[in-house]
Amino acid sequence: MTAEVSDRKSGDVILDVKNISLAFGGVKALTDISFNVREHEIRAIIGPNGAGKSSMLNCINGVYQPQQGTISFRGQTFSHMSRRQVAEMGVARTFQNLALFKGMNVIDNIMTGRNLKMKTNLFQQAIRIGAAQREEEAHREFVEHIIDFLEIQAYRKTPVGRLPYGLQKRVDLGRALAMEPKVLLLDEPMAGMNVEEKQDMCRFVLDVNDEFGATIVLIEHDMGVVMDISDRVVVLDYGKKIGDGTPDEVRQNEDVISAYLGTSH
């Protein structure tokens, strides 16, 4: 595993986060955070509960507008971005508390991820002729590749709400993949999973990185998982960055150890 990680070639900086500060009223969620993500790498953001991990992801994603700082994506700098802009630039995400359409089946859920790629209008799609049909077929084929990739062929027509949690997480990932993302933001992809499901998910994350060439930014609680699969790790604590580097460097970092294990003052 470690040999594979060091072999992986990371490219230029694709996402650069500079001096981000975010506050909700008097509560400072993030204070002066800077880090960057290189193309094709797996970048993890870790930290104890309430450290600001999800807030960080939401800033990148355009859900929150930070009061200070800038985020550059492939050289373009933004201080305010709408969610739609972010998605159109090729950033997709999965959610910590799944955001799927429970009553819809797996195919339809993943199809929603193709929404931005659809060129025909609602009326054409409703009567489903000509261009709309061709378009749907092309998208469906793409979705089938994802279904094959995530090994969920047996559940194509199953309403998502009836699937076990681990599989729902896979569908959530599938929906994000359907956007053909350049950068994939994963919010605690392994949370609430058993050991076997975690192993599967690790394999999928590595394969997504490998086969789809997507850059991955990953928030994770499970230190074992993070250290195994990421190239570089950012550590947050109380909204501040306390560590940044390869998994080994981070492991040696005194501040990180005390944040995670606590120290006697």
Binding site: E144, I147, D148, A154, D210
Partner: protein, 648 residues
């Protein structure tokens, strides 16, 4: 049949180039390979293998699920006079070491990353294994191992060679003779190392043809290939008979989608071991339990009619007009939709074999109009020894000797077989060969049985397993463990059972609960549980199992011969018996000896009269790691019944 597998394939490609040979579901759509396309693929693969240095009589292992390109690979190997050896795709890597070294295997063609990883793991122990090709490149891009390449690359190099040297392939195919070795199958073996069963083109194709004639199979049959290709049954039904008949073999999308694909394909010729039929029935019963009371009542009323009338209808026996009408109504309301939901509505001939099938289970399928029959055979006999003719299917026999087969009984009651389909030998094991294949040409099956008045063969048990009760009230009674276990296993709540009693004063048993059925049952009763081990030890579950055991005892008491085999004490095991832990064979037969050794404390506790016993067991997970499960098992008594005296 005076031909070989590759020649048959070329014949089909010539006679019906555009007819479908194989279908595989991928990306949600059934993709067809025609005979002509298959012939091209096989030619390229064969030329690629020749480029890589494959020579006549070389052995090649093929590991993976049923995939068209793996089937083509087997044909390609045979085209060059090589011998394909399919191995079980779910075996642990260490189980590959013996076959690879025993058969001096230098080449492997495998399905995917999982199999590649397993072979790379044991490469040091198998220095001869030089080349490995994989069908599905996913996850393998970064692998940089000597001799590892994709099947695509193999095809590419073969295509170039086929162009340069056009006559090569046909000349190679023409050189092969029917008496040449065609394939080798490693038997799972309940004891010792597995043995490589060597079959020729003639032995496999002769039996395939005998089955074809017997059931009038045509090129219009549809077959779903979903059992492990390493099992000879799978090989006969979707490889040998596929080429002998020229029908269509359908490969499911993945192991998880088999039931969905079964419905889509609607096979006409279907083969499954009893446990598959059992699993289907259990899932039907579970779903019926969840249905509304009205539907449930309708179902049971119709099934009563079906049990009474269905088998007679299928056997062509006289049935009253009223009963006929009732069955037809039942067919409209229940049986037809049920057959459809099982994916068996188009089945013309269905077979089950491998182990004894419970009479109730067998009758269930026949009663809803599925022509389920039994057959008898083994790896060593290329499957077809006995088959049940269409109107003579009985639950307790395995049919009449099929064309070319002679049967005789040894004095010990062991069944001896003479047939064109007998194995050539066990590979490099003359001692074992001599043991089963005597100089006079008879093969010793190891099964005890007899031919009944109608000429049907009846199997009692493995010859070496039939024992005697010694001491106690039933002193001297016959003990047929398999018979008892099968009776127990017919209850949907019981997945496996292991009965002990030979040379003991009474019969005791281990029970494995069926997690799905018992889990569902517990849920209905708001019975919380933390997992398999916890559920298995619930007092309520013990009560449930006790009822099953007592019903089984009542049944056994009906038969004076077997009344002594009633189960007096039992316990529910804390873990499922598993092939990975050496407790079952890969075809899911219990390894009695291994279980006895491993759980000796439990057996002692059963016979020692203890009320509970602590045990810790090592378990192996599918990824090769191991852990342990421990529990204190309760032991329960079951009521037995006095033997019915036969009305003299």
């Amino acid at each position: 049949m005076q031909t070989t597998f590759p020649r048959l394939m070329l014949d089909h490609a010539k006679a019906r180039p555009d007819a479908a040979a194989l279908r595989e579901k991928s990306y949600g759509i059934w993709q067809t390979t025609t005979w002509a396309q298959l012939a091209v693929l096989v030619r390229q693969l064969a030329c690629g293998l020749a480029e890589a240095g494959l020579k006549r009589d070389d052995h090649v292992i093929v590991v993976g699920d049923n995939r068209p390109r793996l089937y083509a690979s087997m044909l390609a190997v045979q085209s060059l006079g090589g011998v394909p050896i399919p191995l079980y795709q779910d075996a642990a890597s260490t189980e590959f070491v013996f076959p690879i070294n025993n058969a001096e295997v230098g080449f492997a063609i495998v399905e995917n990353q999982e199999q590649v990883d397993k072979l790379l793991e044991i490469r040091e122990q198998c220095p001869g294994l030089g080349r490995i090709w994989f069908d599905d490149p996913r996850g393998l891009r970064k692998y940089d191992e000597p001799g590892l390449a994709s099947v695509d690359a193999l095809i590419e190099s073969g295509a170039a060679r086929a162009q340069r040297d056009a006559g090569f392939f046909d000349a190679e195919v023409a050189r092969a003779q029917p008496q040449d070795v065609a394939a080798m199958f490693f038997t799972s073996g309940t004891t010792g190392n597995p043995k490589g069963v060597v079959h020729t083109h003639f032995s496999l194709l002769d039996r395939a043809d005998a089955g074809k004639t017997f059931d009038k199979l045509s090129s219009a049959e549809e077959v779903l290939a979903y059992m492990p290709p390493a099992w000879i049954g799978q090989n006969i039904f979707s490889y040998a008979q596929w080429l002998a008949c020229g029908y269509i073999v359908n490969c499911p999308e993945s192991a998880a989608t088999v039931t969905i694909d079964l419905k889509e394909v609607g096979p006409t010729y279907y083969f499954a071991p009893p446990r598959i039929f059992e699993g289907l029935l259990t899932s039907v019963m579970i779903r019926m339990e969840d249905a509304s009371p009205l539907k449930r009542r309708l179902f049971h009323a119709c099934m009563d009619v079906a049990r009474r009338v269905g088998p007679a209808l299928l056997d062509g026996r006289p049935v009253s007009l009223l009963d006929r009408l009732k069955w037809t109504l039942g067919d409209l309301a229940i049986y037809g939709p049920l057959r459809n939901s099982l994916g068996l509505s188009r089945v013309r001939v269905a077979y089950t074999a491998g182990e004894a099938i419970g009479p109730d289970l067998f009758t269930f399928y026949r009663s809803i109009g599925i022509n389920l029959k039994q057959l008898y055979g083994s790896t060593e006999t290329a499957v077809f020894v006995c088959l049940q003719p269409d109107h003579e299917a009985h639950a307790d026999t395995v049919g009449v000797p099929v064309q070319g087969v002679e049967i005789k009984l040894a004095e010990s009651g062991e069944i001896l077989v003479k047939s064109p389909g007998l194995l050539k030998e066990y590979y490099k094991n003359p001692a074992a060969t001599a043991e089963v294949l005597t100089a006079d040409g008879w093969y010793h099956t190891g099964d005890a049985g007899f031919l009944d008045a109608g000429g049907h063969l009846k199997i009692i048990d493995r010859a070496k397993d039939v024992g005697r009760i010694v001491g106690g009230p039933n002193d001297g009674a016959m003990f047929a463990p398999k018979y008892v276990e099968n009776k127990l296993k017919f209850f949907p709540y019981i997945k496996e059972a292991v009965a002990f009693g030979d040379k003991r004063d009474r019969v005791c048993a281990f029970i494995n609960i069926d997690m799905d059925a018992v889990g569902n049952w517990a849920e209905k009763r708001n019975l919380g549980y933390a997992g398999y081990t916890d559920l298995a030890q619930k007092p309520e579950v013990y009560e449930l199992i006790r009822e099953c055991v007592e019903k089984c005892n009542a049944d056994l008491a009906q038969d004076a011969l077997l009344a002594g085999s009633q189960v007096t004490r039992f316990l529910v095991l804390h873990k499922e018996l598993d092939a990975d832990d050496g407790e079952m064979t890969r075809t899911r037969k219990v390894k009695r000896g291994a279980i006895l050794d491993k759980y000796l404390v439990l057996v002692d506790a059963l016979y020692g009269g203890k009320a509970e016993q602590y045990i810790e067991t090592a378990v192996k997970f599918e990824d090769g790691r191991s852990g342990s499960v421990s529990a204190t098992l309760k032991i329960a008594d079951a009521k037995t019944f006095p033997a019915m005296k036969k009305a003299a």
